[in-house]
Symmetry: C2
Subunit: 225 residues, 2 copies
Amino acid sequence: MTATKTARERARAELTREIKDEARRQLAEVGAHGLSLRAVARELGMVSSALYRYFPSRDRLLTELIIDAYDAVGEAAEKADPGTGDPRTRWHAVWQATRAWAKAHPHEYALIYGSPIPGYQAPQDTIVPAARVAQAMAKVLLEADPHEPAVTAPMSAELRGQAEALARALGAHAPAEVVTRLIGAWTQLFGAISFELFGQYVGSVDPSDAYFEHLTGQMADFVGL
Amino acid sequence: MTATKTARERARAELTREIKDEARRQLAEVGAHGLSLRAVARELGMVSSALYRYFPSRDRLLTELIIDAYDAVGEAAEKADPGTGDPRTRWHAVWQATRAWAKAHPHEYALIYGSPIPGYQAPQDTIVPAARVAQAMAKVLLEADPHEPAVTAPMSAELRGQAEALARALGAHAPAEVVTRLIGAWTQLFGAISFELFGQYVGSVDPSDAYFEHLTGQMADFVGL
DNA sequence: GTTCAGCGAGAGCACTGCTCTCTGTTGAGA
DNA sequence: TCTCAACAGAGAGCAGTGCTCTCGCTGAAC
């Protein structure tokens, strides 16, 4: 049924896509701050008010770009994982691919992992795509049957509950300790990428390749890989 | 000599301060995005063009606020450290104080640890205040004579050089392994705070107190405390 | 063939950062 | 003590923004 679309519907879908594409182009150039609806419209040869037939507001357009960006990093991370072989190699591939995507798309990265844009609170739509990188890491880890870390601090009941709920959501029966450490690695991955891209490493580990390389291994140790 | 100031100079200094105070107030309310020079001027009963006698641009005003914010978190972290006693307790205090400051000043936090503002590249002025939290952590760690971690992956020459240079800058003769792990903990601290404030933990460890607590201990282990 | 929802254009509102010019004031040197 | 240059604030104005509203046109359904 959905295959048969009226000409108008097809035109609408196509134009919606074109607007997003142009917006993404400008985002990559001038960042979220500099993204202007009027400029997008101008580039597409239409008038700014016409754009509001497709997106109710600038923030809503940005939200769409956010979802796309989450999917893009997620896909990059997933595709980088060979799916078989040495778990540490797979882990390495996922980390490198995520960082590479971020460095190739700094403004899109900032859009999703930088300061949240004002009128925006993560709607349900973003939660699933936002988890894709984390899930790629989880896949590598859980398929490798990680050994539980030797030294383990006791976990509070609240944290244990959250970790177990998360394990259920991932569809894996992993011990809460492993899930918790996975969250730590996930945080570390994006913390390091953000620090590198946002200039916090200037003055310490500024060309960050060597450090990131080292960190990747340290975090593989950390999660028990 | 600097004590004797002309009335004009004193007025200028005071007004400069008032502008920054009002700007900070508005920043806390509406965020960097919503901060408007005209609104600041309006609130101070002056006209917007007059403001340009004190700050050459909006971005420059924001830069001043950035430096102040770095100093504010840095001071919070330093003051939280009792200076003596159990190193892990001190470590804990620094982490908690940093997180508490961030949660109390989310917009200021986003200004310094979120996406960088466009016209701004960290000038020399920000590098020193930006390091204060890291230095507070380093102080606790180095005064505790940390044991080197048992398992240590080999470090590349480049990374070792960076770590040693950083140790010299800190005025401490700590092994490169320890310094490198400190960078990891520093990254983790702000990575976790950013994830919490920017909504990435929604759906996993959303009320993050328990997780942050646990993470603090894990990272103390990580650095060898 | 008529009707009507959807579409683009255009004008307009309230706002922004920033510049320029004009006028009044202050303070330091002759 | 007087002069004059540096300084400060006001106001108008420019180019741009997001967003709204109204207007005709058009394609598709009835």
